[in-house]
C-alpha cells in the first residue's frame, strides 16, 4: 500500500448542512469505494455526542479502520468516500487538505495500532510531543518543555523518555507516548484504532486503563475500535458492530453483551464467553 497522497480525488464539498448541536460526530450513509467501484464500506451511519464513548467492533477486514480513516479524511489513495461525515459541524467528505488540517489535531486526533511505526524513529520523543503542543497551544521555550513533561507524566512516562529515541523505549511506552501525542492536541474526539492489539496482555490492560482514565478526566469523546468484544465493551457506553462493511447492530454496550440480536454479534459474544469459560476451567 502506498502512502496517503496530498491530493485525494474527492467530490466537491457537500452543501454545508449545520449539524445538530447535540452531535460531535455525525456519520450519515458513509460509503467507501475502491476505484473499480467495489464497496468496502456500505452506508454506515452513527452519531457520537460530546463526551460519549462508542466502541466499533468487528473482525479483521470488516471496515473498522477504514471508518476511522474516513472520519479523519485520511483514506489511502484510490479509495473515495461518499455520504456525509460531519465533525463538529465541518463536512469531512470531499474537504480540502487545508480545511482538514484545521480540524485534525484540534477537534479530532488518533492513536493507531502499531506502536513501532507510530513514532518517527529519528526524532526524540520530547520533540515529537512538542510539535502538536506548540501548534495547538502556541507554547514556546520553558513553557513548552514544562508542557511536554506534564504530558509525559499524564501517561505515566518518566521525564527522561523525552530525550529518548523510539527504539530506546518499550512497545508499551511507545504506545503511551503516541497516546500522549494524541492527547496533547486536546481534541474533542479521540479515535483509538486497536490501540492495544500489538501489546502483550498485561501491558494491554495498563494502556487501556490509562486511556480510560485520561478520556474520562477530560470529558473527551472516544471512538474505540477493536475486535475484542470484552475489551471494547468494558471501556465504552455504546457499541456498533460492523460486518463486511455494514453496520449490523448498535446499542448500549451492556444490552448488546447481554442479548445480542444480530447473528454475527451473537457469534462474537458466544466466542468471548467460550474464551471466558475456558479461562475459568483452566484457572478456577
Amino acid at each position: 500500500m502506498t502512502g496517503e497522497k496530498p491530493m485525494v480525488p474527492d467530490r466537491s464539498p457537500a452543501p454545508g448542512i449545520p449539524a445538530e448541536p447535540a452531535a460531535l460526530l455525525d456519520v450519515d450513509g458513509l460509503s467507501v469505494r475502491r476505484a473499480d467501484g467495489h464497496e468496502l464500506l456500505r452506508g454506515v451511519s452513527f452519531t457520537l455526542a460530546p463526551g460519549e464513548r462508542l466502541g466499533l467492533i468487528g473482525e479483521s477486514g470488516s471496515g473498522k479502520s477504514l471508518t476511522a480513516l474516513a472520519v479523519l479524511g485520511l483514506l489511502p489513495a484510490g479509495l473515495s468516500a461518499h455520504g456525509s461525515v460531519l465533525l463538529a459541524g465541518t463536512q469531512i467528505v470531499g474537504a480540502r487538505d487545508r480545511r482538514l488540517d484545521r480540524v485534525r489535531g484540534r477537534t479530532v486526533s488518533a492513536v493507531f495500532q502499531e506502536p513501532l511505526t507510530a513514532l518517527d524513529p529519528l526524532m526524540r520523543i520530547g520533540r515529537q510531543l512538542a510539535g502538536p503542543i506548540r501548534r495547538r497551544r502556541g507554547l514556546r521555550g520553558a513553557a513548552l518543555r514544562a508542557a511536554v513533561s506534564t504530558a509525559l507524566d499524564e501517561v505515566r512516562l518518566p521525564e527522561r523518555v523525552a530525550g529518548a529515541y523510539p527504539h530506546e523505549i518499550s512497545g508499551g511506552q511507545r504506545q503511551r507516548a503516541a497516546l500522549a501525542m494524541a492527547l496533547a492536541c486536546e481534541p474533542d474526539l479521540l479515535i483509538a484504532d486497536e490501540p492495544t492489539t500489538a501489546l502483550d496482555v498485561t501491558v494491554q490492560a495498563e494502556v487501556l486503563a490509562l486511556l480510560n482514565g485520561l478520556v474520562s478526566g477530560r470529558s473527551m469523546a472516544l471512538l474505540l475500535i477493536g475486535h475484542d468484544l470484552a475489551v471494547v465493551a468494558d471501556v465504552t457506553d455504546r457499541l456498533a458492530v460492523l460486518e463486511r462493511g455494514s453496520l449490523v447492530e448498535t446499542g448500549r454496550a451492556e444490552d448488546i453483551v447481554r442479548e445480542p440480536r444480530h447473528p454475527y454479534t451473537r457469534a462474537l459474544v458466544e466466542s468471548a464467553e467460550a474464551f471466558e469459560a475456558e479461562f475459568d476451567r483452566l484457572a478456577p
Binding site: 479523519l72 487545508r98 511505526t117 507510530a118 503516541a178
Partner: protein, 269 residues
Amino acid sequence: MRGLGSKGLAAGCVLVGVVLGVAVVSLVWLPYDPADTSGGRLVPPGGEHLLGTDKLGRDLLTQLMIGARIALVAGGGSVLLGGVLGVLAGLAAGFATRWLDDALAAALDALIAFPTLLLAMLVVAVRQASLGSAVLAIGLAMSAVVARLTRILVKRVLAQDYITAARTSGSSWPRIIAEHVLPNIWPTLLVNLALQLGLAVLAEASLSYLGLGPPPPNASWGRLLHEAQATVLTAPVGAIAPGVLLVVLVVGVNLVADGLRDLAPGRSR
C-alpha cells in the same frame, strides 16, 4: 563489521583528504607554470622535475595537482546537480498521483538505461567539450538514479503510521516533509551520494580520456592518461601517476561511503 567500518571511514577520510589537500595547495602554489615547457620533453623523474615532464615538456606534478582540482570539482559539481535534481524529482514522484508517478518512474528507468557516455557525447555535441558539459552530463545521468532511490524512500516513509499520526495532529504537508520525510530519507541518500561521487570522478576521467572533458590546457587525470598512452613504455610514470591518484580518490570516497552507511541510524536495530 562496525569496527572495520569506522577504520574504513578513517582511512577513506585520509585518502580523500590527501587529494583535497593537493587540490587546495594547487590553488596557491604550483611547482611550475602549467604552460612552462622549458624543462625539456619526457625528462625522467628526479632532479628539478620530481615526477618528470610530459611529451610537451610540461611538469607532470603540476599537471597532476591541477588534475586533483578538476577531479574534485567534477565530482562535487555532478553530485550537487544530480543530488538536487534527483531529490526534487524523487519527492515529486513519491507524492504524485498514480499516473504521474508511473510516468515519472518510466522516464527515470529510460534515463538510467541510457549510457552515461552516450548522454555525455550528446551534451558535448550541443555545447562544447568543457568541465561544465562534463558536470552537466554526469549530473543529469546521476539525477535519474538519485530520483529513483528518493522516490522509493519517500514512499516507504509515507506508508508509516507516524506520517498518518502527524497528519492526524494537523501538520501540513510542507511541515511533514521538512520534519519527518527528509530526516528519515537523508541517511540513505547521503551514503548513495557518496558512492555517486566516486562514480562521477571515474566518469569525468573516462570522458576526458575520450576527449569529451575539459579541453587542454586543463590537465584532467583522464586526459593525462590519454596523453601518456603513446609513451607508456618509455615514460611509465606519466601513465601510472594519474592512475594511482584516481584509485586513491575513488577508493577513499567509497570507504567514506561505507563508513557512513555503518554509522547511519536505523542500521543498528
